[in-house]
Symmetry: none
Subunit: 411 residues, 2 copies
Amino acid sequence: MNASIISIGNELLSGRTVDTNAAWLAAEILALDIPVVSTYIVGDEVDRIVRMLEAACRDANIVLVTGGLGPTEDDLTRDALAAFVCTELEFHQGLLDDIAGFFAVRGRAMAATNRRQAYLPAGARALANTTGTAPGIAVEQEGRRIYVMPGVPSEMKQMFTDGIKPALKRLDPGQHIVVRKLQCYGTGESDIAQIVGPLMARGRNPLINSTASQGVITMHIVARASSKPAALDLAQKDERLLREMLGSVVFGVEDQSLAQVVGGALAERKMTVATAESCTGGLLAKLITDVPGASRYYLQSWITYSNQAKSALLGVPAALIAADGAVSRRVAEAMASGARKAAGADYAIAITGIAGPDGGSSEKPPGLVYIALAADGRLYCQRCEFGQPRAAVRLRAAMTALDILRRQLAG
Amino acid sequence: MNASIISIGNELLSGRTVDTNAAWLAAEILALDIPVVSTYIVGDEVDRIVRMLEAACRDANIVLVTGGLGPTEDDLTRDALAAFVCTELEFHQGLLDDIAGFFAVRGRAMAATNRRQAYLPAGARALANTTGTAPGIAVEQEGRRIYVMPGVPSEMKQMFTDGIKPALKRLDPGQHIVVRKLQCYGTGESDIAQIVGPLMARGRNPLINSTASQGVITMHIVARASSKPAALDLAQKDERLLREMLGSVVFGVEDQSLAQVVGGALAERKMTVATAESCTGGLLAKLITDVPGASRYYLQSWITYSNQAKSALLGVPAALIAADGAVSRRVAEAMASGARKAAGADYAIAITGIAGPDGGSSEKPPGLVYIALAADGRLYCQRCEFGQPRAAVRLRAAMTALDILRRQLAG
């Protein structure tokens, strides 16, 4: 079994609306071990919708369609579906009563145009909509199952969950699937692919693949078996293998962020961290405080953009800045020590660098960043070259700072 | 002219990643008066990619493809494109040198697999990638123009803007298109639609539409005429109309951000600003320092998450915090005054609030935020209720703070 998804609506083609329905449906469908092989977006035009239905039915034996079931003349999915299955639209009084009831309950008047929503292609089955007016539609055509849902995400999700998912589950009761994610930082996607190698081969079970976002590499382990425990067992075996191969690069599981893992480790030890930022200008603090409850381990911090502020707020000797420059190992270390002391924190991280595009030199190019960590009696500093552009330098500097603290906390 | 978009990548079909590239490209293409007629998502499989290229070339004469240009064996877009245009992949030493250079500049070793990215279908043209390793590809096939870009959004956007958009602009020399953008903050997209009304009608020239991102509403004015000056004239007339209708809601043009506009106004007046953040935890500072050259007007700032830090660093009386609570008008004002004084800045903005989800009460619900601005002899404070979720509260608080300063600077 496999599936294809069609999203219908002019607003999806104009860029005004990002189609999030397809991704949500794809994740739901994959969790039933039904791979999605293609996704189509098309505007509200009968001919084009029919063509996409033809293409989707060539690709897959389950076709999920969203959008175009509204009450206006722009909503043509019903008409296109009837044309595709070569039949007429039929009026259903029972559906109109349901729609009228939806408005009555809410004390609103039903517009005349809502009558359009009480039509279905002959031979099709209505799918109940408990959160909106448009009923969904289910039809079978030459062994393909086609399900049509409203485009409004809340209505689509309810209809899929209550009316379609149970039917799909019954189609293949023998397969169970377990998905496990490992979050990695500190190396590139291609380096990980080289380390993990054959485990990522196509067609292997579990299937292992990777995605990258903001420098974080997520390894997905998708295990299939005839029982849930067997699938779980397969996934756990591969998780152990990957952890052995990747070592300290793995920082978390499922949807954990670096800042969450660092925050969790600090909270567990009842320890605190302060930050002193120059070129990242608050980004590191922002990442730390993205996590709810960060106030348990994050109390106060500084953004010292100017040299004068580095001296006045963090006690970095002006002579040191004059000698080594603000972007230097010793200034980063002095910022970290000063912040730790001023905040009375267990750890302090300091970042000083050249975010660019301007302000660099041949010795100190844009993208050069020093990241220092001050702990009880210890001082660690890392020199990084992040190149350009500015936004990437800042993000990588802040993420690397979190990773340095994460590794420190992990011992 | 019309366009079709193909997004390639297994992660887009598994629901792990929402495809935002297609919507971004659609908005850009529409601004060139080229309608997008269909969008396809397909996994990393040569046969399926070829089938989608066939379908897209039936739909439209411009085909924009993203994804599948990475260095791993999963990345098969190059192979599929070669198969589609019935040719072989050819190695280009110059491209490999560029890729090697990308790694060299960053002090990283190039993996052997990156060599794959130096291959192009015979007869195709490479598109420069200035922010990543994978060059893009341009080919013509039976009057259709196919452009292939990386799937990483930042790389895709750079490549489209620098390497593809100018070429598309030249395709219809009889038509001149001028696009003007107005950036707005402080009201919703539907409110703007009501104010602007008939100017946004379909088929009108200039075409006016809006997009919304992070609370900023962008009005696009797309003017078409047979000469450049005539198109410019049309666009300028509508810009004046919109500015009259929208008033102080308009803060900038083209791709200006709120932080850029605020920074420009400060730099022009040779004035400085400091920030004191509680619930936004560095996000406001991050937005300000996203702008290159922010060091001209941004010197030093504080993140005072704890009550104790608000007193120690900004001089907020502990008795005031005890009486009114940390999330209160008087504490916000005291933070702003204290930060202004400690930094010796012309302005200081302070934010204190409850980002949530926890920490609220019936009187002070999650999403309640006070934003204070201290200027020479004046103190202004705004109470906001931003609801939830946490990330939206933080972003809206930081953006509103910038907008308050922007309006202050504009008089």
